[in-house]
Amino acid sequence: MSKTSKALPINNRSYVKSSSKFSKRFRRDWDLFLLLLPGLIWYIMFAYKPMIGLRTAFYDFNIFKGFSGSTFVGLDNFIQFIQGADFTRTVTNTLMIAFWQLVICFPIPIILAIAVTEMKNKVVSKITQTATFLPYFISIVVVCGMTINFLSPSTGVINFILQKLGFEPIYFMVKPEYFRGVYTTMTLWKTAGFSAIVYIAAIMGIDQQLYEAAKVDGAGKWKQIKHVTIPGILPIVVVMLVLNIGKMVKVGYEAILLLYKPTTYSTGDVIATYVYRTGIQNGNYGLATAAGLFEAFVALILVVLANKISKRLSETSLW
């Protein structure tokens, strides 16, 4: 094969735009295909083969017997999940946590980016960027560990501060009413600086002449931000919004698994953590896969909705 490929006339333009048949093209570029192969095999093994495993959702799956030994139960697992005691709780919690993440963790990085770029004092601007960016590098395990230890009622620094201000110590980690607030604040601290980078880059890309023109027209700082900066970054904001909404439902379950306790399940248990407990911890694979598919379905609906909203928004913006 290599002989033929070498023997073929190699000529720049026809080479690139060749429309010859499959076998001919393959013979010529077999070594390019060779480069594709490791990645292709990986995607088949670790992304597409597991998708076949989604049929577990329709079986009363027994891990020792495999599919041939397990009974096909149709939609029973879905019905069991939807009628189960955890359904309302996990769906509500998933949507609530996703909502708070959207309301807090999405806009604040944009505000942060505008603030950082508006700082005239370059040293302060650099320090702010560095300080907010730093937590991104700390693993989620350590961040959760810090959160739990800071919020301890007996030795946590947050409760020391509260006590000095004259409050009673608060049992943050065991009281359900605090869970979402704790989770959202922690996520904000960890991700705000990193998320802001994209917007900072977008603001840097805005033509300086627009600001000059706005100044000549008598626009103050607020008006410049409102009429130049925000319209300038709107396209990237819309893109990021759609991207975020797609991932939103898959709320940071890794962090929630580390933070929640049975006492905070009522506000912290989301679909993904339910999937984890039912499937990996309790071995009820069929039910867990069904719940996971349900989650993917909700995510899909949200993405479609987000796309619609973005279409409307982008009509008002310029693209």
Binding site: S18, L34, Y43, M119, I127, L134, S139, G145, V275
Partner: protein
């Protein structure tokens, strides 16, 4: 006219002053948690537990660190993490660059199909349980291979790499073809050397993910000799397993306590990242920008 000019400048001065103060406040809020862990880890436990340590350390000593370094398995876990990071990034880079290069070439057969196949997984994937079962099917449970090979490609990084390869001028490639080079040679001798900035960016992304990886390591590995640092950290600082037995009686003379040991473990765990941080920062900015433009 001159009057309004002055007005603008005065307003701007106020604005700039406010922004500087805002910046300082944000920086303090963002940095304080790390600073607190640092000063608490070097302080005498009695001061930490009474809330006397707030803005600076009190009763300076290293005892908590000595205790932290004596924790069972901490050195093994550190070594494992080092191994998973180095071997993992090598595997990541091999799988990602080869595939990204192939997908970046217009002449690849079924290029659109293969690209879509990769991108599709960003929006839809099998999910936790089917992936876990796939590892089980492949007999990869409790193996290092599972961690290293099972997460060989991150599609987001693949897209960054691919778009970088696409930006390299075609003429270079055409010239090499005329000189008789094949695809493999062009990839390794021309494209890889020209892609150092992108290789560094994507490599850094992978390295941070590898160093901090926890969820799948926790679920796929059972053997204590194979677990990376993050899994051990979960036991020590989140579940507080190892500290439960040392009853938390802190006297005025105690030089370490469960709490201060936890804080020193946190510092030990984040130090490598803090050292890497200044080098990583500039690449991350580039990478995040490239990724967003493509996203």
């Amino acid at each position: 006219m001159a009057k309004s000019d002055k007005l603008v400048t005065r307003n701007e001065k106020i604005f700039n002053g406010v922004m500087t103060v805002v910046g300082i406040i944000i920086s303090i809020v963002a940095f304080y948690p790390i600073f607190y862990v640092l000063i608490a880890s070097f302080s005498k436990p009695i001061f930490v537990e009474n809330g006397d340590v707030m803005f600076w350390l009190k009763g300076f000593n290293f005892e908590s660190y000595k205790q932290a370094f004596m924790k069972d398995g901490i050195w093994i876990a550190y070594g494992n993490t080092m191994f998973y990071t180095i071997a993992g990034v090598v595997v990541n880079m091999f799988f990602t660059t080869t595939m990204a290069y192939a997908l970046s070439r217009e002449r690849l057969i079924f290029r659109k199909f293969f690209t879509l196949m990769a991108i599709f997984t960003m929006w839809f994937n099998a999910g936790m349980i089917p992936l876990y079962m796939a590892f089980k099917d492949y007999n990869l449970l409790d193996t290092r291979t599972a961690i290293i090979v099972g997460f060989a490609i991150n599609t987001y990084n693949l897209v960054i790499m691919k778009s970088f390869f696409e930006q390299i001028p075609k003429s270079l490639e055409e010239a090499a073809f005329i000189d008789g080079a094949n695809n493999l040679k062009i990839f390794s001798k021309i494209f890889l050397p020209l892609s150092k900035p992108a290789l560094a960016t994507v490599g850094m992304f992978y390295a941070v993910t590898r160093w901090n990886g926890y969820f799948w390591a926790m679920n796929l590995l059972q053997d204590d000799n194979k677990v990376p640092l993050q899994v051990l950290l979960k036991k020590l600082i989140v579940d507080k397993v190892a500290n439960e037995t040392e009853a938390a009686i802190v006297t005025a003379n105690s030089l370490y306590s469960p709490t201060t040991v936890i804080y020193s473990i946190i510092i030990i765990a984040i130090i490598p990242m803090m050292i890497a941080y200044p080098f990583v920062q500039k690449y991350f900015k580039k990478g995040a920008t490239v990724g967003a433009v493509k996203g």
